[in-house]
Symmetry: C3
Subunit: 106 residues, 3 copies
Amino acid sequence: MKMIMAIVQPKDAGKLRDAFIDNNIGATKLSSTGGFLREGNTTYMVVVEDDRVDEVLEIIKHNAKSREQYMTPAAQIDNGSSAIPINVQIGGATVFILPVEKFLQF
Amino acid sequence: MKMIMAIVQPKDAGKLRDAFIDNNIGATKLSSTGGFLREGNTTYMVVVEDDRVDEVLEIIKHNAKSREQYMTPAAQIDNGSSAIPINVQIGGATVFILPVEKFLQF
Amino acid sequence: MKMIMAIVQPKDAGKLRDAFIDNNIGATKLSSTGGFLREGNTTYMVVVEDDRVDEVLEIIKHNAKSREQYMTPAAQIDNGSSAIPINVQIGGATVFILPVEKFLQF
């Protein structure tokens, strides 16, 4: 079995949780904050059999991967100038896979 | 050494913490929520020597295992009908054991 | 790669976080409380290449190791007697190193 720790942005956390539920994957959410960006993030801890690891990785990738999005800067709207949408990068997931020696349920 | 991660219900968390203290087992409690049930749960992280793993598992089992309990449904009390206690399942612990390569204290 | 889990006192958490940032080490802070002392503590989760483990350990040691500090007991100040500083132990870090099989970024 493997433990998959996925650190994602709050923006993607709800969507990812729903995807875990839809796919019958038990995930525990740990409250966490990023040391780097000093902003909130979400850490999901998932433990699955080895043959489901790729499936979990696909779900994380599909729901939280880094992508670009056109946004209209608020400053431009405020000062009444024509709002030109700019391309910003959002999302992204950092994933660690750890070996699990034993899984038990009481 | 092994890291033992035990995810238990809030109902059992206090009792389990006390049992860890009574048995001189250092446990760190991580704030967590379940992805599945969307309800709060508690994750304990315990690191012990290999020869104490069984002892820790027994403590978790003893204090947080799934069990049945007779409950009187609130609805029956509310409508004044005779309250027939029903059997509900409470508790339960999910436990992962991970290998620890090194333990240090500064 | 290795996962380094460092449990430190709140007193040292901010200083350690800054040191991680200064050294370009991505650290995720997990909300945690100690089972032993029943007081808050902070768990940092850091994942680095094997050849950076010693560097991370040095940073933790430097910023959070157990040390003595002279403190003036509040009671002595309150009752107006001459305040004699006493030596108290503060800080300290508990560190676990776990093997990481895979690290991915999406």
